[in-house]
Structures are given as structure tokens and as C-alpha cells.
């Protein structure tokens, strides 16, 4: 990654970049778009989560971006173009293109990326709007996206609600970590953060907790106000287990709007590319509500992708470090 310095320094001119290789032009419709790439492995259980991510800074080819733009619906295109400045516009296009292309691949390319329609649930969470019940039952896919300016990720599951959140590891907050935590997190989380004396380590722990909490809220699909951060605690236990506890008052309070908060969710936390934290949360359908060590971990597979052009399986490599 380029280091961005605020100093003005005479630097030698970099050699002119060699022209990028011409993008392989994909076929026109459906499966031929992905002709040169192997299909992703199928999602074999509700416990499997596949993550596909893009690094926007690597995608600067105008014709490639136009190709992605063409996959979008008219309203998605309009929204993307209404964003302020090229970088935000590019991010919006890539994020929609990533969702559409990824979903298409999990229907074995039987559904063209352009064909997908989306709706929002009553709290604003995006979902696939299938044309027919048959399609929905054939491919009971759930997805969730998260983006930062430097990485956009899409998580896919079969038949189970999912939330993901990405954050830059080095992300600095304007406010002091503990003030933020006191305002938004639970007392036990504040205590946990307060015990960390090294400011850098404390900041990283805050970011990890933030992504985990965001992932839970997004998985639940009820918006920030439907699952206020100070009504549930997430704990990174010593044995790398991630545990969620809902504030006891809430579970019994039947006329609170938070009575939907539940603890049967499973988490994974990983470091991507040495630059980002990623938290994943899916609903846990295991029979035993006892969240002891017996519960198998999420089956997580992660690819870095350039839609239509290139996939790189990164899980199991240096690029992905599972924190839990």
C-alpha cells in the first residue's frame, strides 16, 4: 500500500506505468460471463459462509468499470452516480457489481447478474427479491455486504441470516476510545477495554468489538435502533471463543422493542490482508442451546476477487488470520 505523507518532498518520478493487460472480454450473457473461471464450491451446510472481497484501489480500468456499471439496475446506477466524487461512485458501482456477480455464481450462473432484484425488509436490510417461489427454494441464498474505502466484501450463506462488517485495522476514532465505549457499549465491554493499557492495543480491540457488534446487528436485520449496542455484550474469551450475552433485563422485558434480541448466533473474526478486521455473524441453528465448546466453528472460505477475471482463494493463506 502506498504510504500517504503530508510532507512535500522531492521524490523521483516513478517510471511510467506499463499499460495494464487488456481485460479479457467476457461473453455477453449468463454463464459465459464467468466462462474462464471455475465455479465456486457449493455451500454445503447452513454453517458455511463464503466471503468474496474486492480491493477498489486495484480496479482502475475504465472499460472494466463500465462493464460492472452495465450490470446494475437503473436505480442502482442512478444512486451510484449521485454520490459525491469519483471514489464514492466507484465504490458504489463495485459494491453492487460484487453482490450481483457473486449471487449469480451461486446459482450456477443460471441467474444472470443483471436479473437480480432486491428489496429491503421493513428495517432496511437488503434481500433478494426472487421472481418465483421455486427460485427462492432452489437457491435460498442470504447475503450481506460491508465496505470501507479500501475493501468491499460480500458474504453468502445458504438459508441462514448473515451479517458481516469490515473495518480498517488502523482506523482512528475522533473521540477517545473509552468515551465512545461508555456512550455506546455495555459496562462489561467498557471494563474490558479499560483494562487494556496500551492505546494501540485498546484501539484495535475497540475496532474488533465494533465489527462484531455491527455484524450481529446486520445479521439480525433490524437496524441500529432495533438492537442498540448497549443492550448486548460480546466477549472475546481466552480460548478464542466469541460469546454474545444479551442484557438480562431485555430478555424479560416483553414490551421493549428489543425483545427480538437473541443469543443463538455464531461469530467469526478474522484479519484480512493484514489491513482489515472482518467480523461475520450467522444464526446458529444447532439443537443444543448450550453454547459450550462442543459447537463446531463456522466453515469460512474467503476469496479475493476481480469479478469475471480472477479469483484468489485466500483463506488458509497468510492473507487471512483467523482470530477466532
Amino acid at each position: 500500500m502506498r504510504q500517504r505523507l503530508l510532507l512535500c518532498r522531492a521524490m523521483p518520478l516513478p517510471p511510467p506505468p506499463s499499460p495494464p493487460p487488456a481485460p479479457r472480454t467476457p461473453g455477453v450473457v449468463g454463464g459465459r460471463l464467468f466462462a474462464s473461471l471455475p465455479s465456486p464450491p457449493p455451500l454445503q451446510s447452513r454453517r458455511e459462509v463464503h466471503i468474496w472481497y474486492i480491493l477498489p484501489d486495484e480496479l482502475n480500468d475504465a472499460s472494466q468499470l463500465k462493464m460492472y456499471m452495465d450490470l446494475l439496475s437503473p436505480s442502482e446506477r442512478k444512486t451510484a452516480l449521485s454520490m459525491n466524487g469519483e471514489k464514492l461512485q466507484k465504490g458504489a458501482v463495485l459494491s453492487r457489481a460484487l453482490v450481483r456477480t457473486t449471487l449469480s455464481r451461486y446459482t450456477d450462473c443460471k441467474v444472470d447478474p443483471r436479473s437480480f432484484e432486491f428489496k429491503k425488509n421493513k428495517f432496511g436490510k437488503p434481500e433478494i427479491l426472487w421472481q418465483s417461489d421455486d427460485s427462492r427454494m432452489q437457491w435460498p441464498l442470504h447475503f450481506n455486504i460491508s465496505h470501507t474505502s479500501s475493501l468491499i466484501a460480500c458474504g453468502i450463506t445458504m438459508d441462514t441470516p448473515i451479517g458481516i462488517d469490515i473495518e480498517e485495522k488502523k482506523r482512528k476514532t475522533a473521540k477517545n476510545i473509552l468515551s465512545l465505549a461508555r456512550r455506546y457499549f455495555t459496562p462489561s465491554e467498557v471494563d474490558h477495554l479499560a483494562k487494556i493499557t496500551n492505546p494501540d492495543a485498546q484501539q484495535k480491540e475497540f475496532i474488533k468489538l465494533w465489527t462484531l457488534k455491527e455484524a450481529y446487528v446486520k445479521a439480525l436485520g433490524r437496524g441500529f435502533s432495533g438492537a442498540p449496542f448497549n443492550k448486548f455484550s460480546i466477549m472475546l474469551a481466552a480460548n478464542n471463543r466469541i460469546q454474545i450475552t444479551v442484557a438480562p433485563k431485555v430478555l424479560k422485558d416483553s414490551d421493549s422493542s428489543c425483545d427480538c434480541l437473541s443469543e443463538n448466533w455464531q461469530f467469526a473474526l478474522a484479519e484480512l490482508n493484514n489491513s482489515h478486521y472482518m467480523a461475520v455473524c450467522i444464526e446458529d441453528d444447532s439443537r443444543s442451546s448450550d453454547s459450550g465448546n462442543g459447537r463446531p466453528p463456522l466453515g469460512l472460505q474467503i476469496w479475493k476477487t476481480i469479478p469475471f477475471l480472477e479469483d484468489t482463494l485466500v483463506s488458509g493463506t497468510e492473507a487471512v488470520k483467523l482470530i477466532s
Binding site: C8, R9, A10, N84, K87, S149, P228
Partner: protein, 177 residues
């Protein structure tokens, strides 16, 4: 004494019979007495802030939030590669505009990187115009709470996604200072 007594009585009469045809309090007096809605005595101490003042203060809060010195907060990078006649003049021109900072010049006066901070206007949308994400939004809400001196409940904070919504919310909140 008599004058004061009749003054008091007149006020009492006004309070007692707001709809009496013969007595029409001025709008200002009416608002002072009854407000736009029935207020508790504590709330009656506050009053609604003027929208343009609120807008100005909110814009200032958000601008302060867009710290340009922190690389991770820089939301826009417009790479420019082209010769510039006088880098010093360009630099001072651009530096005058608080929205922009030059990162570096290469040799031959080639402008290498330009950071552009999006302008915070009254119609700016946090995500689409300013590139703020959910963590930023939460920090902005906290900064607004500090600026205006009252706590914004989570379900309201959730809706605040632009300067305009923030203004409408705060300007209609009697506890805002």
C-alpha cells in the same frame, strides 16, 4: 401598586381564557405562555433554536470531525498527474481552501496527489456526499450531543443520516441548547 395589580390581573385573565374573542394575545405572548405544545416546567425553560443557527453549528461540528491530518479519515483521493506551472502558487491557492491539501509534488512540477475533503453543505448526506460510515455517524451524533447539550436516543440517532435531518431534529427539540 394598583397599576401593577391590574397588570397582573390582565395576565391572569389572558392565561385563564385563551380563546376569549375579546382578548387576543399576540403570537409571541401566546407562544411564550403556552408554547407549541404543552411543556413541562423544565422543558418550558428551553426554547426552540433557530434553524439557520442550528445548521451553522452542525456544519461546524461535522467539519471539525473531518480531520484532514488523519490519513484514515481522508475520504477522497483524486490522483492528478499533470505539470503545474508554479507549484508554490498552486500550493498556496489550494491551501487557502480548507477543503484541499496537497500531498506532494514530484519532479518537473508534476502534482502527484491531491486530497480533497468534500464540502459540508446544508444538503450534504453523510454517506453519499461526505463518505461517512456507520462508525463516523455514531461519532458525529456524539459530537452533536456535546454541542447541543442533550442526549439523542438511539432510535432517533439511527435516522440522522444527513445535515438536513440533523437540523430538523435538533431544531425541533426543546432541550437543545
Amino acid at each position: 401598586m394598583a397599576a401593577a395589580r391590574s397588570l397582573v390581573l390582565r395576565h391572569l385573565r389572558l392565561a385563564a381564557s385563551p380563546s376569549a374573542a375579546s382578548v387576543r394575545p399576540t403570537a409571541a405572548l401566546q407562544e411564550a405562555l403556552w408554547g407549541r405544545r404543552w411543556m413541562s416546567s423544565e422543558e418550558a425553560k428551553g426554547s426552540f433554536l433557530d434553524k439557520s443557527e442550528v445548521t451553522e453549528r452542525i456544519i461546524k461540528v461535522v467539519k471539525n470531525f473531518q480531520k484532514i491530518d488523519d490519513p484514515s479519515k481522508m475520504t477522497m483521493l483524486v490522483p492528478l498527474h499533470g505539470a503545474v506551472e508554479d507549484p508554490n502558487e498552486m500550493r498556496s491557492k489550494l491551501l487557502d481552501d480548507s477543503e484541499v491539501r496537497i500531498i506532494s509534488f514530484g519532479n518537473a512540477n508534476v502534482l502527484k496527489d491531491l486530497w480533497w475533503k468534500p464540502a459540508v453543505t446544508p444538503d450534504a448526506h453523510f454517506k453519499n456526499d461526505l463518505g461517512l460510515d456507520s462508525l463516523d455517524a455514531v461519532e458525529v451524533v456524539m459530537a452533536l450531543e456535546e454541542e447541543f447539550g442533550f442526549e439523542i436516543p438511539d432510535n432517533e440517532a439511527d435516522r440522522i443520516d444527513s445535515i438536513k435531518v440533523a437540523v430538523d431534529f435538533i431544531a425541533s427539540h426543546p432541550q437543545a441548547k
